[in-house]
């Protein structure tokens, strides 16, 4: 790797580690200082390495520079140092003697604790995801803006406000107490799930970026699995769900970036390794009595890795959706349940159920009704597809619906 390739690569992995460790040391109110030190470290690497070539052990180089920068700030800025001092774990030592621990263990611990701090219920889900992308995944502001189909200014404002809020709420970078961990973990899982979905369903045309988002969500979920206290069945279920979904990454978009519907996907493009990982984690998730929504969604995703339309498959999927809806209602789940019902009991039964849903501002609802009426009453099917077309917002959706109308 040349230094031009090396630095972005290291940035993605090491920026977040340095930031997490320093931020843990300084406290959440100095998150910006931690980010700046990490940023300056890479700036120096860029200057030095392109001139002298990369050092033998680039990571050690980065850590040494970051440590020195942190110590210098503590030395130079007495007021800052005083503010920091009481929060330092080793409060006996003076600032010049502070040991900045960039060991693997402390890095993992700090990142895990940062994950809990960032996924704090006091800030909005959107802000949590943005912060996680910045602090824990090392995404640039522009990349985050791309992922959210937004602009840099908005994202910068969002990040700034979120950091202020975390400071104001005095959120500690620490592992939640045993009593609290269950509640806080649910919030972390929701954020990781949304982060994954942001990548999976994003309208952003940048395929690599979208896949990166998914992989980062999986990496952070895996961080929780590696930690004994958070290696819980529902965490394994969430990772399993992500593996199953990610296995279809290559198959669900064609070369023009259009969504390829599940039934039209080439299953040879499905990633067998990710599928078997998904099965591994769902098995791990089955230890325990509580069935979370992630268990149900992972099981549904598992059945979708089997392409053949068997009776058993659709009966299982219907049952899982029945359970999922009882835990948490969502229009998507209601529509998918009705689709599964049509596979088990036929279209007539499904039409009766579909008409009860009345999701009249949802274009998927009309697409489903169109599908159900197809070959039963094509005039009605066309009307429903047209209603769906007028409600659809993205070009991809509109194209898909147009094809359906043409196929009647």
């Amino acid at each position: 790797m040349t230094s031009e390739e090396l630095i972005p690569h290291l940035f993605r992995t090491e920026f977040t580690k340095i930031t997490a460790v320093l931020c843990k040391l300084f406290g959440i109110e100095h998150i910006q200082v931690a980010e700046d030190i990490a940023g300056e470290t890479f700036l120096l690497a860029l200057e030095t390495w392109s001139y002298k070539g990369a050092p033998e052990n680039p990571v050690a180089w980065l850590y040494a520079v970051a440590k020195n920068k942190a110590k210098n700030i503590l030395k130079r800025n007495q007021t800052f140092s005083k503010k920091i001092q009481p929060q330092l774990k080793n409060s006996v030592v003076t600032s010049s003697e502070i040991e900045i621990d960039l060991s693997e263990k402390n890095i993992t611990d700090s990142q895990l604790q940062m994950l809990f701090a960032v996924c704090h219920p006091s800030i909005s889900a959107e802000a949590q995801i943005s912060l996680a992308l910045r602090i824990l995944c090392g995404f640039g502001i522009e990349e985050i803006a791309n992922a959210f189909l937004s602009n840099k200014e908005t994202i910068n404002k969002r990040l700034y406000r979120a950091k202020e809020k975390l400071h104001h709420e005095k959120v500690q970078i620490e592992f939640p107490s045993e009593k609290e961990i269950d509640k806080r973990l649910d919030n972390v899982l929701t954020t990781l799930y949304l982060l994954f979905n942001e990548g999976y369903y994003s309208e952003s045309s940048d395929n690599i970026l979208r896949e990166d988002l998914c992989l980062e969500a999986m990496r952070l979920t895996y961080l929780l699995i590696e930690n004994e206290q958070t290696n819980l069945p529902r965490v394994n279920a969430l990772l399993s769900l992500m593996c199953f979904h990610a296995s279809r990454f290559a198959a669900r978009k064609n070369e023009n970036g259009e969504v390829v519907l599940y039934q039209d996907q080439d299953e040879k493009l499905w990633n067998a390794e990710l599928i078997s990982k998904g099965i591994f984690f769902i098995n791990k998730a089955s230890q325990g009595k509580i069935i979370s929504k992630y268990h149900l969604e992972a099981s549904i995703a598992y059945w979708h890795t089997i392409k053949a339309d068997t009776k058993e498959k659709w009966e299982s999927i219907l049952l899982l959706y029945n359970q999922l809806l009882q835990i948490e209602y969502s229009p998507v789940a209601a529509l998918n349940r009705t689709f599964a019902l049509s596979k088990v009991y036929g279209k007539q039964e499904a039409i009766k159920e579909a008409e009860k849903l009345q999701l009249t501002n949802n274009h998927y609802y009309y697409t489903l009704l169109g599908e159900l009426y197809k070959d039963i009453n094509n005039t009605k099917a066309k009307q429903y597809f047209e209603a769906a077309y007028s409600l659809a917002k993205t070009q991809t959706d509109k194209r898909t619906i147009k094809k359906k109308i043409a196929g009647l």
Partner: protein, 119 residues
């Protein structure tokens, strides 16, 4: 939206001994019924299924008798809570209950008292 409690009542039938397939089928129809209510976003609570054995009735003056409440042939074996605009909607849901459709029991539909009712 109002909340209605659907109380399931059934009479014990010692002759009814479903085969595993029948039991499975009954379970599926309950799950489909509950799923259908949830898909309409009208399920407020999954409620509970109640065991029959060891039931007790606690009466005034610390009198405890073995239950379930036995003054009638039918006993309660569970409940769920639905949220609908009207009692008619709740009744329409109750009519689809597998226990009612199959003739195995009745559903009592009762509106839950909401905080607004007290004001």
């Amino acid at each position: 939206m109002k909340e209605f409690v659907l109380i399931f009542r059934t009479s014990p039938n010692p002759d009814f001994n479903p085969s595993p397939e029948q039991a499975q089928e009954m379970m599926t129809s309950w799950m489909n019924w509950m799923g259908s209510i949830a898909a309409q976003d009208k399920l407020a609570s999954q409620g509970s299924r109640l065991g029959i054995s060891d039931a007790k009735v606690v009466q005034p003056n610390n009198v405890v008798t073995n239950g379930p409440f036995t003054e009638i042939k039918e006993f309660i074996n569970g409940f769920i809570i639905v949220k609908t605009d009207s009692v008619e909607d709740a009744i329409a849901i109750a009519k689809e209950c597998p226990m009612v459709k199959g003739g195995g029991g009745n559903v009592e539909v009762r509106r839950a008292v909401s905080p607004e009712d007290n004001s």
